[in-house]
Symmetry: C2
Subunit: 241 residues, 2 copies
């Protein structure tokens, strides 16, 4: 099938997926690199493969062919894509496992994507996001996650509910905050745990800290400031090794 | 003094500072936030304070006032600045200390800035950059460094020379690479050391690995992929704690 009109109803729907509200409505998102489409296929999350007319289809999948104008309309990438994938956002599944990352109100999609990538690399069982976090399915987040969003469960829900669920699984919940005397290197790591990280500027809310079992901070020499994705990387590593 | 013409010779010079070659030529760079200007003043690196005409001067410093059009011309920031600072790039000083971060060919200014910020937080003595790294004095790097560039020496030179200099200070040089059997958690940290990180896609060059004393990798569960600023954060923390 070839689509040439930017007024085509499917093209109109796909182009709306740049906006979070339409991703949420249709449970779909866009990926724009060949290796990410491969990961989407492997994860069973690819809905529609779209190829620019005249380009080869490098996948063993049926594709919809579109004009250059449509490909540009669907893309965030500055260079012209040969292919993009429309992927399904999975339904929230039951939270399972023994180690989790929880994010509250993170605003930067690069940070959210990088944290998903890091959590995946260290074998965490899921990344849990409060509803006011940057979307895990935006272009910038997907790029920063480098496809990890296809390899580790990512669940968006109310922060109270997320914390309650991991506690019901027996996890000790560690709030990361500067306002504590407990240093990361002193933590005796339990069998089951969740690490909680807050907003880039304000950190965690009081509510989230209260719902946690204990607080922890990364010891620093000076400056008292780390990017939240860096702080997460350090804690995520320390708890696993 | 008030400048209203965008053709003014100083305005023309300042507006060129968005480009690396002119920053290198004039040894000047621009910072665009009040707290960063404060840090530049504290570090003795502020050359010229520029205030938008009609705005208050919040600093105890003489300022040059400029029109809105000029402020827009000088800024990278999407919102209109009230003040910006033209800062001096310090001359390369002698490398001093016992712990260093060395970067080879890092391309992303966000990564370079984040690494400078993290190195500063953990009390490293300097960040040393190969000449083909993203500039430490671009808008994006300065933003990501959150002012750390005013608090820790940042030195740009040939990679061979940088490695030779820290070795002459008695440092063991650790190359971070996936191609090694030495895990980060097994390292017995020496008194003096330098940690070497390479390009986002290719990692370290063979040359840089050969010039190092040993190689080290971060143990991972799967996916074998970490953002370089995350990898640096984890190693930087581990060597200090």
């Amino acid at each position: 099938m070839i689509i040439n009109s930017t007024d085509n109803s499917r093209v109109k729907l796909w182009s709306k997926l740049k906006q979070k509200k339409y991703r949420d409505e249709y449970h779909l998102f866009v990926v724009e690199e060949k290796h990410l489409i491969e990961e989407a296929i492997a994860a069973g999350m690819l809905d529609t493969l779209i190829i620019r007319d005249g380009c080869d289809n490098p996948f063993d999948r049926e594709a919809v062919y579109v004009s250059e104008a449509i490909m540009k309309k669907l893309s965030n990438n500055v260079s012209l894509n040969e292919c993009i994938g429309i992927c399904r956002i999975p339904e929230n599944s039951a939270i399972k496992g023994t180690s989790f990352i929880i994010l509250e109100q993170l605003q930067d999609p690069g940070n959210v994507g990088t944290i998903i990538r890091t959590a995946c690399s260290f074998g965490y069982d899921a990344v849990l996001l409060s509803r006011d976090c940057a979307s895990p399915y935006s272009y910038k987040t997907i790029q920063a996650s480098q496809g990890a969003v296809f390899q580790i469960p990512v669940i968006v829900d109310d922060i109270e509910k997320l914390i309650a669920e991991v506690r019901s699984l027996g996890c000790t919940v560690y709030a990361t905050t500067l306002d504590t005397d407990c240093f990361l290197s002193d933590v005796k790591v339990p069998d089951r745990y969740a690490l909680l990280f807050g907003n880039e500027g304000q950190g965690l809310s009081e509510k989230a800290v209260k719902l946690s079992d204990c607080s922890v901070k990364i010891e620093m020499a000076r400056f008292e400031s780390l990017n939240v994705a860096i702080a997460m990387g350090i804690c995520a590593y320390r708890f696993k090794h």
